[in-house]
């Protein structure tokens, strides 16, 4: 008999804590649609992402915590509260200040490249982390990779034309919004609100 392993159980538990409510996929989708709008319409559209933080807080408070309760993860336990939010907002402000101060020297294309590089970094990071954390049961990582592959093939066929590339980013965002919403609705349906203690 092989060595008894608790690893699969542990992976399932951690996967459920992080992705069980589908909100991360939903936010990821919104972030990609915002990138599409920022690059296609106006850079200011990207600032709308700041609204995501209070909305996220509200969704958690209204729908997630009454069903799943509160859990403090071990990995993030030493990290001060709202660190991620501060980093992203800080990055946004840094970009705005840079734009304002060096508007004659820094072109909009360069700013777009900055935003895009940030996304690329986060995206690769996401792919690696989500693969390592995958519980081997959820279909999302498989679908995610199929969609990425499909989009890369499409990108090859459209000969890397920028406007079509932006459309593919938007499609990827919409895919994540659909997957996240689907997961969130299943989470709401399958988990009734728990009565308060005491």
């Amino acid at each position: 008999m092989d060595k008894l392993s608790f690893k699969n159980t542990e992976k399932s538990i951690l996967w459920d804590i992080r992705y069980g409510d589908g909100l991360l996929w939903l936010y990821k989708g919104i972030a990609f649609v915002a990138l599409f709008l920022a690059l296609k319409v106006s850079l200011l559209m990207w600032l709308a992402l700041i609204l995501l933080f209070p909305i996220q807080h509200l969704i958690r408070k209204r729908w997630v915590i009454p069903r799943r309760g509160i859990v403090k993860q071990r990995y993030y336990s030493n990290r001060p509260k709202y660190t991620t939010m501060i980093i992203i907002v800080g990055y946004l402000y840094l970009m705005l200040i840079t734009l304002h101060l060096f508007s004659t020297r820094i072109s909009e294309t360069m700013v777009k490249a900055m935003i895009f590089s940030l996304y690329l970094l986060l995206f690769v990071n996401w792919l690696v982390i989500s693969y390592l954390e995958w519980d081997k049961k959820s279909l999302y990582p498989i679908l995610d990779r199929i969609v990425i592959l499909f989009l890369l093939i499409a990108l090859w066929y459209i000969k890397f034309e920028f406007s079509a590339f932006l459309l593919l980013i938007c499609i990827y965002g919409i895919f994540n919004i659909i997957a996240g919403t689907w997961q969130f609705i299943s989470f709401i349906k399958n988990n009734p609100v728990q009565a308060h203690e005491g």
Partner: protein
């Protein structure tokens, strides 16, 4: 005289070996802290059963239970203690030893 495997089985921590408590201990070992609602969600135990199992684990010092008011809502926050982490690790090791010795005997 007791054989090795019997001795090893006797070393199994019965406090952890019970399925509901094992589920609680494994879950708590992966996180820093969870409230009662979260434990209900994850262990799928009834309120009464969960409460009873938590009391037993607290009595032997494997978990800490703190009652707090968070935004005017009473919350019972539960976390695993160092003794709990050590006991769970030892439990896993013992179980693995028993299973591997059982495997050796059956292959001989």
């Amino acid at each position: 005289m007791k054989d090795n495997i019997t001795l090893e089985i006797e070393e199994i921590d019965r406090m952890i070996h019970e399925p509901a408590r094992l589920r609680i201990m494994i879950y708590l070992s992966l996180i820093q802290e969870a409230d009662f609602t979260n434990l209900l969600y994850n262990t799928k135990l009834s309120r009464g059963n969960l409460s009873a199992q938590l009391q037993k684990l607290e009595a032997v010092g494997y978990i800490d239970i703190n009652k707090k008011f968070i935004k005017r809502i009473p919350r019972t926050l539960v976390s695993i203690t160092d003794a709990g982490v050590k006991a769970l690790r030892k439990y896993k090791e013992n179980l693995n030893r028993i299973l591997s010795s059982d495997n050796q005997e059956s292959s001989e």
